[in-house]
Symmetry: C2
Subunit: 95 residues, 2 copies
């Protein structure tokens, strides 16, 4: 299993709901992917402009397939336009 933490900061003035409308489509399609274990969007409790996707995938191949999926290729570039920054880390559990 691998895990992904994708931490996003929205641009000033971007409404969270505007971001969520598009993100929801990615989320619902991603959860149908064979190699997806969990895929949730989480809002920072102190700063609502920080949104973090917490993901679990069966293996790296499943993540690579996800990154080539139609919903990612179609929607993620639109989401990126609303972001000030994106920080992605891929992890393996050690303990």
């Amino acid at each position: 299993m691998i895990k992904v933490v994708c931490k996003v900061k929205l641009k000033p003035g971007v409404k969270i709901e505007e971001y969520l409308i598009m993100a929801r489509e990615v989320i619902s399609e991603t959860r149908k992917e064979k190699g997806c274990i969990t895929y949730t969007l989480n809002e920072d409790s102190h700063d609502p402009t920080i949104l973090t996707m917490l993901e679990e995938w069966v293996d790296e191949e499943a993540l690579n397939e996800h990154n080539k999926s139609e919903h990612v290729i179609k929607i993620v570039p639109e989401l990126k336009k609303l972001r000030e920054s994106t920080e992605i880390n891929i992890y393996r559990e050690v303990e």
Copy 2:
């Protein structure tokens, strides 16, 4: 439920095993806490000096209790000495 992402960068020269020896004690004690749902330590697959704790707690009170626990008060200051930086975010799941 609340989630915590605690992302740590180790100081140059610090051996991961040195950090893990102490971290394991915090982890095993924390998992015994009543309000702890999950508590795992994860290593960045591209940079082994980045270690991230992914945590789920039943509520904020459980997290506050954890932060006052003996194992946190005793061991976390020692872990901090080995860290270059610590980034903590608390989240609520929105999707």
